[in-house]
């Protein structure tokens, strides 16, 4: 009788410890990842202006047909006022010609040809004050006179593909080819 009571007490105490331990692990781990994520997120806000930003900015080169490509941009809530894209033509000859045009009325597009690259600079016009926040927004259309493969490059020589926001942050995009 006495032994049974003892066993019951031991088992009961073990359950109690187990529940406390489980509860402790649960509560402790509940807090830890949150802190870690907040820390990561807050670090993005510490980056000074005019440097590459933390958050995800994506630029997609999408093939519409053999003669037409589009550049789509997602700016992750940043108000974009300028961008640069480096378009590489895999055909080194001059038999195919690339021309680009802005798909946004609020942006002017400037283009420079260097070797087999087309350097595009988009500039938000002064008379547009509405924020330009891109979300898979088609921003540039590229036309080809002959079907050749083209790529978007992050860097080439002195040139870099980037988006600039209204705080002068340089947003280096992740480039996706579709």
């Amino acid at each position: 009788m006495v032994d049974s009571k003892k066993i019951l007490k031991i088992i009961g105490f073990s359950f109690f410890l187990l529940i406390i331990a489980l509860f402790g692990i649960f509560v402790f781990k509940e807090k830890k990842p949150k802190e870690s994520k907040e820390e990561l997120f807050s670090s993005s806000k510490l980056i000074s202006p005019t440097t590459t930003n933390f958050e995800e900015v994506v630029v997609v080169l999408k093939k519409v047909d053999d003669f037409t490509y589009q550049i789509l941009a997602s700016s992750y809530n940043h108000d974009i006022i300028g961008f640069d894209f480096i378009v590489e033509k895999e055909d080194m000859t001059n038999s195919s010609i690339l021309t680009a045009s802005s798909l946004l009325s609020s942006f002017s597009l400037y283009q420079t040809k260097k070797e087999n690259f087309l350097i595009l600079t988009g500039v938000k016009k002064l008379n547009f004050s509405q924020p330009a926040i891109f979300s898979e927004t088609p921003v540039v259309e590229i036309k080809l006179t002959k079907p050749v493969k083209i790529n978007l490059k992050n860097t080439w020589g002195k040139y870099t593909s980037k988006l600039i926001d209204n705080q002068n942050n340089i947003l280096t995009p992740k480039i996706v080819l579709k």
Binding site: I25, K29, E39, L40, I47, T172
Partner: protein
């Protein structure tokens, strides 16, 4: 009967307890594996460099230096999702020479990787990488991970300095941070040598001495502080020389001797009288007239009436361009009533520039695109349209050479946004002006006020847009 009852009860309680225990163990395993992990799988991470030390000459670019990451107690199931680290280096002695290669890291998303301009301005490199999707990063049992490959250039002499690893964040695919980080520093030395004139700063040139290139002051200039970043800063002999090296003058036996002022050494003392023939280097001076786009009126701020301009000489006997910085002063002169004001300045060219040789000039203002000029009196019909073409050159005479470049415009647009120009007019330059329209803050004005009217305005905006048609420095 009573004993049986208790035996049954004990077995029942024990069974229930066992079920609870197994459920608890499963629950803890589930939490740990899929939701939260009490700690990262890997117990610690160690950063190191390969090689871990290096000696560079001033101006020399290192071979790629690998930044390695090795985990202790890693596993194939544990993947790295996010990595951020800060490298600190002495920016006075070293500069990042090229963009950082992170392609071997296994983390394909570049969140932030500082380039040469940002890094060399701050002495800090931030590398922030992520996996394309959770679990797509490298496993922690990979041995070791080459996070980045970096190239540095020696900037000024230093003995036994270090590149150190600052704050580090590593997060695995279970969102757990690996907090125990071991850091091995990179040791380096930079020896006072040079590979090009720009390594020696202003009023100095890089000369070959016994198979070793060293910096030598131009005639009439002295390096009194021992720092070649600011070149030969004094035009008076040094009272307390700080450097000990005394190179002998360059010998070029094919040329006849001419009487010229002797170059000075590191010590700021005149070098010994040469025993061999001396090239007529240092004897070429330029009196230049320049015209900068948009400066139609005298600036109200007196500081804006002088402008530092970089002049490079290339071609002729030079294997690479030599450069000199010079201050240009605004005059009241202009070629016509509707033309911009003319700036004047004089410069003594480095010793390597020899009278009688054929050269061309590359001229770059502090907010401007570099212009290549190969005519003594160039002109143009449209602003900024002059081009040096057809292999034309300028032949300098010994002594003073008057060059009037005031009939062509130096286009503005390459702003020193991060403290230095990048040789390109792009969206960073246009955006900087657009974001600061109407601004009169002296710091902003010094960067983005192109017409020097004391504020950033739409005229500056128009100028930078115009420069987009030229886009890059002429070479």
């Amino acid at each position: 009967m009573i004993k049986k009852f208790f035996t049954y009860k004990i077995v029942k309680i024990f069974s229930i307890g066992l079920i609870f225990l197994l459920s608890g163990i499963f629950f803890v395993y589930y939490l740990n594996q899929y939701l939260y992990r009490s700690k990262a799988g890997a117990s610690s991470a160690t950063f190191s460099f390969l090689p871990n030390n290096l000696s560079l000459k001033v101006g020399e670019v290192s071979a790629p230096i690998s930044l390695l990451l090795q985990f202790q107690d890693g596993s194939g199931d544990e993947k790295i999702d996010y990595l951020k680290l800060v490298l600190n280096f002495p920016k006075d002695n070293l500069e990042l020479a090229d963009y950082i290669d992170t392609s071997t890291s296994g983390l394909s998303r570049q969140i932030r990787v500082d380039g040469p301009v940002a890094a060399s301005g701050s002495g800090q490199i931030i590398i922030e990488l992520g996996a394309n999707s959770p679990g797509a990063g490298p496993a922690t049992n990979t041995s070791p991970i080459t996070v980045a490959k970096l190239k540095f250039r020696g900037k000024s002499a230093v003995n036994n300095s270090q590149i150190t690893i600052g704050s580090v964040q590593i997060v695995n695919n279970a969102s757990a941070a690996i907090t125990t980080i071991n850091r091995n520093a990179f040791s380096f030395s930079v020896v006072a040598s040079c590979t090009r004139d720009t390594d020696c700063g202003n009023n100095a040139s890089c000369q070959s001495q016994n198979n070793n290139n060293t910096c030598v002051c131009n005639s009439g200039y002295y390096n009194c502080d021992g720092n070649w970043q600011n070149g030969c800063e004094s035009n008076r002999a040094c009272t307390n020389p700080t450097n000990t090296h005394t190179p002998t003058p360059t010998i070029t036996p094919t040329l006849t001797s001419t009487t010229i002022p002797t170059p000075t050494s590191y010590q700021g003392q005149p070098t010994n009288t040469p025993t061999s023939t001396q090239p007529p280097g240092g004897s070429v001076s330029l009196n230049l007239k320049l015209k900068f786009q948009g400066v139609m009126r005298e600036p109200s701020n007196a500081n804006q009436r002088t402008m530092k301009v970089r002049i490079k000489v290339a071609g002729g006997n030079l294997s690479s361009p030599v450069s000199v910085d010079a201050d240009f002063t605004l005059t009241n002169n202009r070629n016509s009533d509707t033309d911009a004001l003319i700036w004047e300045g004089s410069v003594n060219l480095p010793n390597q520039v020899i009278a009688g040789q054929n050269y061309y000039l590359l001229i770059k203002g502090p907010k401007h695109i570099q212009k290549k000029i190969c005519d003594k009196d160039p002109s143009e019909t449209t602003g900024g349209s002059y081009r040096c073409q057809g292999g034309r050159t300028i032949t300098f005479s010994s002594g003073q050479n008057n060059l009037d470049f005031s009939k062509i415009y130096l286009l503005a647009g390459d702003l020193p946004v991060n403290g230095a120009q990048d040789g390109v007019v792009d969206s960073l330059d246009t955006s900087y002006i657009r974001n600061n329209l109407g601004n009169t803050d002296p710091t902003i004005v010094s960067i983005a006020d192109l017409n020097l009217d004391g504020r950033v305005d739409t005229q500056d905006w128009s100028m930078v847009l115009y420069a987009l048609s030229v886009k890059t420095d002429e070479e």
